[in-house]
Homo-oligomer: 361 residues x 2
DNA sequence: ATCTCCTGTGTAATCGATTCCACGAGGAGG
DNA sequence: CCTCCTCGTGGAATCGATTACACAGGAGAT
């Protein structure tokens, strides 16, 4: 493969001049410039990014360590990250942690070895020594979706509290009083936050969240199935299962179907993270939708700001509720179809229409 | 960040010795080795992969240019590719072409500039000059799923003909005679092959495939919707729609639902590519399942063979039919529930049970 | 006409590793 | 005791770019 020396020879100039043309440095004569360009075209020369990176100490590549590529939420996130990065002139190298801290560390280490300019992470755990070390060492870094508390690293994420409150209002309005949640790993922020938001919203309606109604999941489908089976085995099973991510909702659907029960007649189901398939499941699933694409783009902008010496900002975007049929039918107003006395209590929060979308496929 | 020189100084040896220890070259004394190892640990030294790559002319990275990351089939493929690559000591850099040839070229160029050791591609088109040039220039390359004819590049893919024949047998047995297909872009191999396999299987049953029953799609959901609407507007609409990939099937489901029609009562639906969500759609979708994970692994093995000087082999694995409810109910035998006279004609191919799976969720 | 200053260009150092080659010490064989 | 290997080691070249520095030559100022 042709190198810069070949181009220089072909154009009858020095390598310095070739380099200057390539990086359009001002002081090159029009004549030399055109000869170099001609030589580049003739030889089909492409600069060696490896050599360039060694010299300039920048790779123009971003590392993205994602919790689970098979989760459509993260797939969409990855896609938007790549798009924005490309627009800003960066490539993205993806590492899939598969919700495993050891794999996550493997990828972080590999990416660091490859000297990526910055790291975008949605941690699968509470923070390994490696990650803490990298953050402290000053590696440009941004957390997306999940984060590790106590580190001075910008976080780009969605705040689901409002939408979860809307969801609880919706469920309460339908007359449901025994509500259960399948949580993610407590070591992740999204694992614990979603439970807390749910519990707080329930409290506003005077409804408690007993321990038996908090299932332990790991954001994978199989754990959703197991947690749901445990719920169904309870002497008094819940009327609603809220899964903290879409894959666990899938598992819950499996478990419910396996018992021959129907959604929403026998039990209601809702999920965190909205995905295109929820429109087509049987029944369509009510979900809390994150502005996924916007999160990915904001995360990249924050990271690139950090890399290029500007001050990065943390970003929190609101999630919103998308009502479908999996929790029961409701009329246009969304209230009044439940059991007698199921209206919102005095002092209960208003549900801004802007945050709730009724989806009737 | 500490470099090899710092390690050498710390250990009291030369950089050459440090390098030898790191690459476990035989001729290093046990004493020097342990001093170097201690220094490495003390400084937290990690070799700079960029510098190493420049010198050795290998990056131990593979490029994967995928047609569409949002398509769960490709997501799963990407995942298995990364797994196998990691097992063999390689990283994977993914580029998402979004079914756009220009984006595909962008990624191929970027990956080549970064001097990846080899390229795994599922072409979004019939072959751009850039790709042909790269293949001819001797870049280690393997095609996966789709390929470009006329190039001496190994291909790893699934052969869907048997499964499509099984599908047609299933549909014919259910009494369907007007069968339509939503094809992918003719420029892709999977775009044209699947239509041909379908047409050939129909011919075995004496059924034709009129032009009006061949919809033009681009492997994206929206095109599936449009093609389906066109089918439904026909004076004599088809009884079955077979979508050549899962996203177009999703679009078809949308279009059918939008007309207030039901699957399979009003119209039957089948898809190429099986995905986890098809179990939970309304109704569960009958699909041709590819051995996706095995394809990804085989593709990586072929590419690494090529890179490391062994002779790579093309691989073709059989797909199989997974019967669910979207084409109509059928009894255990899968035959005889259709209209009178709907049995398989004499000489029609046998349906090996091993290739057909009945899925009753 | 001489002195500056500016523009365009080339030479060479540099980034952080790998690796060829030379060399000294020490053991084996004669 | 001398020669010849082998083993362990270090010096220096190398990979392909970027860039600091030096410098030649022409324009403009005095």
């Amino acid at each position: 493969m042709a190198g810069i020396k070949d181009v220089a020879a072909e154009a009858g100039v020095s390598v310095a001049t070739v380099s200057r043309v390539l990086n359009d440095h001002p002081s090159v004569s029009p004549d030399a410039r055109s000869r170099v360009l001609a030589a580049v075209a003739a030889l089909g020369y492409r600069p060696n990014a490896v050599a360039r990176s060694l010299r300039t100490d920048q790779t123009r590549a971003l590392g993205l360590v994602i919790s689970d590529v098979l989760n459509p939420y993260f797939t969409e996130l990855a896609r938007s990250v790549e798009e924005e990065a490309r627009a800003l002139g960066y490539s993205v190298v993806i590492g899939n942690a598969d919700e495993r801290p050891d794999l996550q560390d493997h990828h972080v280490r590999t990416l660091l070895d490859r000297r990526i300019d910055g790291l975008l992470v949605s941690p699968a755990d509470g923070g390994s020594p490696l990650m803490l070390e990298a953050a402290r060492a000053g590696t440009p870094m941004v957390f997306v979706d999940r984060w590790i508390p106590g580190l001075d690293v910008p976080v780009v994420r969605a705040d689901g509290r409002g939408a979860v409150r809307d969801l609880v209002a919706h469920l309460h309005g339908l007359g449901h009083r025994r509500l259960a949640i399948i949580a993610g790993p407590a070591a992740t922020t999204t694992g614990s936050e979603r439970v807390e938001a749910f519990r707080a919203a329930l409290a506003e309606y005077g409804v408690g969240l007993p321990d038996a109604y908090v299932g332990q999941g790991d954001f994978q489908a199989e754990s959703g199935r197991r947690a749901t089976e445990r719920f169904l085995d309870l002497p008094e099973p819940p009327e609603v299962v809220f899964a903290a991510d879409n894959l666990m909702a899938l598992g819950a659907l499996d478990a419910i179907r396996a018992r021959g029960m129907r959604v929403p007649e026998d039990i209601a189901l809702a999920a965190f993270d909205d995905i295109p398939w929820f429109v087509h499941t049987d029944p369509p699933v009510t979900a809390v939708a994150q502005p996924t694409g916007e999160l990915g783009r904001a995360a990249v902008r924050a990271l690139v700001d950090r890399i290029e010496g500007r001050t990065p900002r943390s970003v929190t975007l609101p999630a919103r509720l998308v009502v479908r049929r999996s929790c029961g039918e409701s009329d246009e107003g969304g209230e009044g179809t439940g059991r007698p006395g199921a209206g919102a209590p005095a002092g209960a929060p208003e549900t801004p229409a802007s945050r709730v979308q009724r989806s009737t496929p």
